[in-house]
Structures are given as structure tokens and as C-alpha cells.
Subunit: 243 residues, 2 copies
């Protein structure tokens, strides 16, 4: 099982939108997809509510792995309130439990996608310690751009405990192509974080929000307005599938 | 001193944008404004960087109040990294320290505005225990609307420890008037949360993001495109000033 954490301390940048669409796309390719929702908001759990619910995400921090069988499609450990208690627990212990439980589940799934809360807390660090890859969606606004430095240094710190962790880069999302500020910020990013930028930005697309509320991928929305969003989400999934 | 917490677990809904603009408006009215940035992202601290920096926000959780004098204008306790350590501390102790320190500072300021991280953690609860008012900006999207229930129940729980806390309501923000989904959600809100909705929604206004990056209020932006944003931000400030 390959595991990917989607993380950014900045709120509302499209983390859950990305997790959901990668899950939809990878499941359609016949993979056994495990989704873990570590955010007590439970947005990913809401969007994926019609798929296989394996249990509560806090169970993954227990001292024994949950007994589950992976089936092709989307299998979800949904967000639950006790997740919040992890923030006052010992980081090392929480991280090694999650890591051990992921190892035990590894044979049952092909890929694991982890949605995280907008915070650099115990849950995020435990997920980074346990994962193979991490990716950060960002918005092309000053606040989000400033947050990249903190995100990159958090990832570098975690690499000391998990040298296998690969940073797949930053994905500009909710990009408004008509907004000169977004275009200027995109150019800035290209020069500062040259090798880290994913090639397929995701636009500001109303149909993405529609799809997330419906619990369906954007490619099931039959409007011409959804065409660009479909191409972009499929593009990111294809790029990450091959990673 | 009257204190107002701006809070919502959902990320990116416009909490910091609102804190900054209320601070600008109230300072222009000659008030001695205290801003406390409890979010380690430090977005409010960035936007208010050219104003009076009184110290680090984590100092407000110490066992003695910082010795400061309030002057007319914006006085800031800026975000610092040690704030994150509060999440593993005892909630009661953190809350009573903040509450005591706010009391001690009360003579120096007329109003206190508290920006919070997108999380229902120790810092938020401590702020709610210590404050007189709380207000939640929301986005007119499904994820944000679903989060209201959790927010309202958190506020009601805190009221047991701080009966004086008043919920000023929910403020639709980043509202796209051309988006039928936003309009439909606004109607839904009007029927479900009738008495809680603030009368002056804030639109999706590019000039707001420009202003936040510049560290200036949107009413200093000389474009006609900024006119609506100015009217809205001033409207909300006037409404809250009279609260
Ligand atoms: N590409 C997009 N175009 C338009 N709207 C989007 C897009 N991606 C996400 N959204 C909407 O923007 C809001 C924020 O997106 P999302 O919830 O995925 O971000 P997040 O980073 O997971 O937020 P949080 O930090 O609260 O977990 C949601 O209401 C979602 O519907
Ligand atoms: N009315 C608005 N119109 C357009 N953009 C806005 C508006 N208000 C805020 N923004 C932009 O949207 C983004 C999110 O706003 P902001 O950072 O204020 O939200 P927040 O709730 O404080 O986020 P977080 O949960 O990360 O603290 C920022 O990049 C900001 O520049
Ligand atoms: Mg999310
Ligand atoms: Mg903020």
C-alpha cells in the first residue's frame, strides 16, 4: 500500500476536494482505496458517505490494528469526535501506533489517502510519520503562500523520523484565471518553488463544490461548465497515479 | 473592555479578514483596540504588522498579565509558535489564565478582537471562556454550513462556564452573488437560523484579499471595484460597534 497525506495548515485551500477526487479516480481504476479522514469537521466523510465505511478514524490510533478486508473501490475510516483527543496525547506514541496499524493494513489496500485538518498538530505529524508521500494544495493568496514555508519545514522535520517520506509538491488550487493577483502569484511560485509546483493547477470551479456536496466526482456533472474542472481533476489524479 | 472572538472550525471562511477590518474601523473611531492573534499561521499578525506590537500572544496564557499601556489605534499581541503548545495543556488552567489576564488588561483598551485558528481546541475554548461576544463568519458552501451545528453546540457548552458569552450570530462571507448555489444556501440559512444571521453579508471581493496582503483596510483601495467591499465591511463594523 502506498499512502499519501494531503496537508496544509491554511484553511479552505481544497485539501478535501483533492482527497475526494483522487479517491474517486483511483477507485475507478479498480484500485482498493483506503481513505482516512483525520479532520473532525468530517468533510471527506460526508462526501464519501455512500461508500464502504470500515470504522472510525480514531481506531487507527489504537494499540491493535482494526480487522478489515479491503475491497476494490473506496473504503473509509470516517472522522469521529475522539480524534480531537489526540492533540493532547504523546506524539511519539500516537505516531508509532498509526504507523504500525498502517503497516498491518498494507496488504489489504493498494493506496491510502489521508485528509487532514488545517493544523500542524499531533494528527498531522503522525500521518506524515506513517506515510510515503505528502502533497499540499495551496491558494494563490498571500496568506496561503506565506504558509508554504512552515509547511515545508514541518515536512523536513518529519523526514528525520521518516526518511522515506517524499514531498510531491504544491498544487495551486481554486485558481481564478481572470484574477491578475492569482496569475502574478503563480509566476512568483514558479520562480521560488520551481521544482515543487505540480504541472496541472486546479481552477476555481463552481462544479467542484457542487460535486463535493452531492458526494459524486465532478465528472458525473453533465454541464459544459464542469468540463475544465473534469480535465483538471483527472489530470492531477493521472499525474499522482504515476508517481 | 468588550471582547469579541471570531471563530469557525471551517478553514478559509474570512475570519482573519473580518478581524483585521473591525480593527481598522474601530481604531479609526478613536478606540483603543487590542487584537490577539491566537492562530500560529499569523495571518492577522501579518496584516497588522505596521501597528503597535505589544508582545507575543502566548504571553497572555502566563500566570501574570503582561504590563502594557493601551493607546488609541491598533495594539497587537502577535501569533507565536509556543501558542501551539497550549493544545496539550490543561484546558481549565489555560482558560482561567487568559480570562484573568484579559480582566487585568481591561482598563487599558476599549475593545479586544481575537482571531482564532480553524479548530475547536484549547485556544478557542479559552478565548470563548474569556470573551463577551463571539461571531462566526461562514461560507455559503455545504461543508461550511454543516460546520455551524458543531460551532453552535461548542458555544452553548462554553456558556456553562461563561454565561455572559453572547453569540452575535453568523456572517455569510465571500458570497458570490452570481452563484445560484450561494443564493440558495443563503435562503436555506435564513429559514434555519433566522435570528442568528447578520444583516450585512460580505461579498466575494478581490479587493479584500488585496487589502489584507497590503496590510491596509479595503477602504484605502482607490478602485471602483472596491466600492461594494467597502460598504459591506463598514456595514458590518457599524453593526457590531453598536452591539
Ligand atoms: N477547485 C475548486 N473550485 C471551487 N470551489 C472549490 C474548489 N475546491 C474546493 N472548493 C470549495 O471550497 C471550499 C474549501 O475547499 P475544501 O473544503 O476542499 O478545502 P480544505 O482545505 O479541505 O478546507 P479545511 O481547511 O477547512 O479542511 C469548500 O466549500 C469546497 O466546496
Ligand atoms: N470577502 C472576501 N472576498 C474575497 N477574498 C477574501 C474575502 N475574505 C477573505 N478573503 C481571502 O480568502 C482567504 C481566506 O480568508 P481568511 O484567511 O480571512 O479566512 P480564515 O477563516 O481566517 O482562514 P483560516 O481558517 O485559514 O484562518 C484569504 O486568502 C483572503 O485573502
Ligand atoms: Mg478539509
Ligand atoms: Mg485566519
Amino acid at each position: 500500500m502506498k499512502s499519501l497525506v494531503i496537508a496544509n495548515q491554511k484553511g479552505g485551500v481544497g485539501k478535501t476536494a483533492l482527497v475526494a477526487h483522487l479517491a474517486f479516480d483511483f477507485a475507478e481504476r479498480g484500485l482498493r482505496v483506503l481513505v482516512v479522514d483525520l479532520d473532525t469537521q468530517g468533510n471527506a466523510s460526508f462526501t464519501l458517505r455512500s461508500h464502504v465505511i470500515l470504522g472510525e478514524a480514531s481506531a487507527l490510533f489504537g494499540d491493535k490494528p482494526p480487522k478489515v478486508t479491503g475491497k476494490p473501490g473506496i473504503n473509509l475510516f470516517r472522522a469521529d469526535a475522539p480524534l480531537a483527543n489526540l492533540e493532547s496525547k504523546n506524539l511519539q506514541e500516537s505516531a508509532s501506533r498509526l504507523r504500525n496499524n498502517f503497516r498491518a493494513l498494507g496488504r489489504e489496500f493498494d493506496v491510502c489517502l489521508i485528509d487532514t485538518a488545517p493544523a500542524l498538530g499531533v494528527r498531522l505529524v503522525a500521518a506524515l510519520v506513517s506515510a510515503d508521500f505528502v502533497l499540499s494544495p495551496i491558494e494563490l493568496e498571500a496568506y496561503s503562500l506565506q504558509g508554504i514555508r512552515m509547511m515545508v519545514s514541518t515536512i523536513q522535520n518529519v523526514r528525520k523520523g521518516n526518511p522515506a517520506l517524499k514531498f510531491l509538491g504544491i498544487l495551486p488550487s481554486k485558481v481564478d484565471s481572470r484574477n491578475p493577483r492569482h496569475q502574478a502569484h503563480l509566476e512568483e511560485l514558479k520562480s521560488t518553488y520551481k521544482g515543487l509546483l505540480l504541472p496541472t493547477p486546479i481552477g476555481l470551479r463552481s462544479s467542484v463544490a457542487d460535486a463535493l456536496a452531492l458526494g459524486e466526482p465532478v465528472w458525473t456533472i453533465r454541464k459544459t461548465a464542469a468540463r475544465k474542472a473534469i480535465r483538471e481533476m483527472r489530470g492531477v489524479a493521472a499525474h499522482l497515479h504515476d508517481a
